[in-house]
Amino acid sequence: MDGGAAVAGMGRAAVVVLLFCLLVVLPPHCAGQTNLKSPQDIQVYVVNTNFTLRWSYTGNDTNVTFSAEYRWFEDETDETEWKELHGCQNVTLTECDFSSAITKYYDTHHVRIRAERREEVSPWSSIFEMIPYFIAQIGPPGVQLQSTNGVIKIKVSPPEANQVRKMWLADTLFKYTLVIWENSSNAEFRNRSIFPTDVIDDLAPDTTYCLKVRAILTSESQEGLFSPINCVKTTHKVSDLLCATNVSVLALDMKFHLHWNNQYKQHVSYNVQYLTGYLKTFPDKRSVNWLSVPGCENITNTQCNFSSIITSSGCYYLRVQAMSEYNRSCLSDEIEVNPLVTNEIGPPDVKVDISDLLLHIQISPPGGSESEFMRDYYDWSYRVLYWKNSSNNEEEIKMKEIKQTIGTVSDLTPSTLYCLKVQAFSKFYNKSSHFSKEECIKTPGDKILPLIILATFVTALVAVLLLAMPLIFALYQAYNKIKYVFFPSCQPPLNIEGFGGQLLSSPYVSTTEEPIENCCIIETIITEEVNQIDFKDYKHSKQSSRDSGNYSNNDDASGSKVSEEMLEKEIV
């Protein structure tokens, strides 16, 4: 009976052991079914290179620790394995600093975190993706103040000064904004931008002011965090008569002169110093590298020619150090000189030439011998103003813009005096030079009109000649004919000379018998008359015509006369 009880007892024990074993073995497998929730609302805050991970945990947080993992992508697709995130292992708070783990600020990172309690672990949280550079904030800058002589001298150090690893590489490009206010009720907040080393001078003396500074990177459109508020009291303002006042710049082309005033009664010598513009942005000791302007050291007159230091298009800062005999010195206010903006431009040089009705203009850019520098930066265009110079002063002034140094003006009237002046201007800098001297030139008279007149005259002459020639010829011919008819020039032959006296008795008279042969009876009566007439005719012919050929004509003529007389006689 006892053996059976023992066996039963053993069986029960085995079951208990088995159950116990099961209880021991099973839990690890059922880890996922624990009550541990995974953390949520993961956030990463980055200030400069300080990375802070924050999350929220809604579960039962007794004895719960958190551990995080991360991985990053080398080249967008190349991902690394999940690694432990240093600084965020077994933390009890709901935030941790993992700055030491992140070095690649431009690569995509993934972060995840889970809760742990002894052996229990929660599932991983959702992945938080980030590119450190894009979520980083600019930290506060360092500020040093010094209150002297009614002003506050401020020295700002950049947010990541003296750090080996920097998020913001181009720290020389930080700009700083200052917010300043009086430490009283109803104080006005004033904003202004300042250099790393600057002076705030528009302040009331013996007053406490509070200020804070932030860094700005315009390329990132980012404004950094403010520095802690710093309060300081301004001192009495003591105006030192030794200091140079009213420092100003007068510049023509590339010749720069600094002028200032002096109110000190005793002997003062001056030392003009300059600083190349970009150095002002350097926050370290290089910014105090003021150099003396050559030729303006230990001078006594209140002006300085500093053209020699202007070698680039960027800006420069100048200040005057006044030194008294007792080794006391005072620095004047600084003045900023932007060479291409502050100067006045002298007139360009103009040469004019005329040919026909085209006015040729040749321009030398302003600046004379130094014009190379100016021409490089200004990219001159030219305005030519021209007008007719007549007694009537209401002549319209015309304008022509040209880009090159050679131009022509063409819409001109002849025989007029034109005057012009030229101005150079730069579109980008929005600057115009002085006008050049007026140059006047007269356009030549119209050469065409006399030519036209000449041509017309010649044409007319030719036309007239062409018309006149045949006419004259015809007249000449007519004249000849008339002369031949009425004034024959034929001469009777020699043997007929002296014909007139012997005519009656001459047997040759019978030649006239030809007409006689026609009318016999009448002829006898008429012959005498005819003979008389013939005589007359002969005489006439002797006198005038020489052509014997005309004789027959005359015969005919006389014949006709005879017939007339015959007719008369017959009628009678």
């Binding site: 967008e76 431009y106 590119i131 550079y133 894009f134 590489l169 181009a170 720290d171 020389t172 490009l173 315009t218 390329s219 990132e220 459109s221 190349t276 513009g277 970009y278 942005t281 350097f282 070698t311 680039s312 298009s313 960027g314 800006c315 490089d376 930066y377 990219d379 579109k427 980008f428 800098y429 929005n430």
Partner: protein
């Protein structure tokens, strides 16, 4: 404030932006001159590339797609960024390079002036926003970080400076080419 006052203010703002943007229209031409001058000064700064530095030459692989003009405005902002970085690189410790200090000063001053002018010009806020989140921008930053690390590793010795100078020269020449097309 009544509507009329608002209109007045609006008109004034329009005026200011028009005036300032008018000048900015001529900026590319101005930029070309500055870049030409900068290239001249870069050459003037030092002598010919030393032979002994050839073996230390490294390929930095400038991300040229940054300057491929998809959008004119993006390229302009990219150029501004490149100027920033070049200015930063040349403001480091240059004593071992033993270059012509005057030429270097002129180079830096001219570059800084150019950066100021670019910032003063009215660049659309939207372009800045898109550029700020642009992937190519990160590539550009990595490129300059590589050069920065290279200089640090070599402790700013002569060869590292000469290699960097040659690289910056290449950068400026690329920008010059792109600006001419703008």
């Amino acid at each position: 404030m009544n509507a009329f006052g608002l209109i007045q203010i609006g008109l004034i703002l329009l005026c200011i932006t028009t005036i300032s943007s008018l000048q900015c229209n001529h900026l590319p031409l101005q930029q070309r001159k500055v870049i030409e001058k900068s290239l001249q000064l870069l050459d003037k700064m030092g002598k010919k590339f030393p032979q002994q530095c050839l073996r230390e030459k490294m390929s930095f692989r400038f991300p040229e797609q940054v300057l491929k003009p998809r959008q004119k405005e993006t390229v302009k902002v990219a150029i501004e960024e490149i100027f920033h970085h070049i200015f930063y690189i040349f403001s480091k410790n240059l004593t071992l390079a033993s270059w012509d200090g005057t030429a270097l000063e002129q180079f830096q001053n001219g570059l800084y002036q150019q950066i100021e002018q670019l910032e003063a010009c009215v660049i659309k806020k939207q372009t800045h926003y898109f550029w700020n989140k642009d992937v190519n921008r990160l590539k550009l930053k990595k490129y300059f970080q590589k050069i920065d690390c290279f200089l640090k590793d070599k402790q700013h010795n002569l060869c590292s400076w000469e290699i960097s100078r040659a690289e910056m020269r290449r950068c400026l020449q690329l920008i010059d080419k792109v600006i001419r097309k703008l």
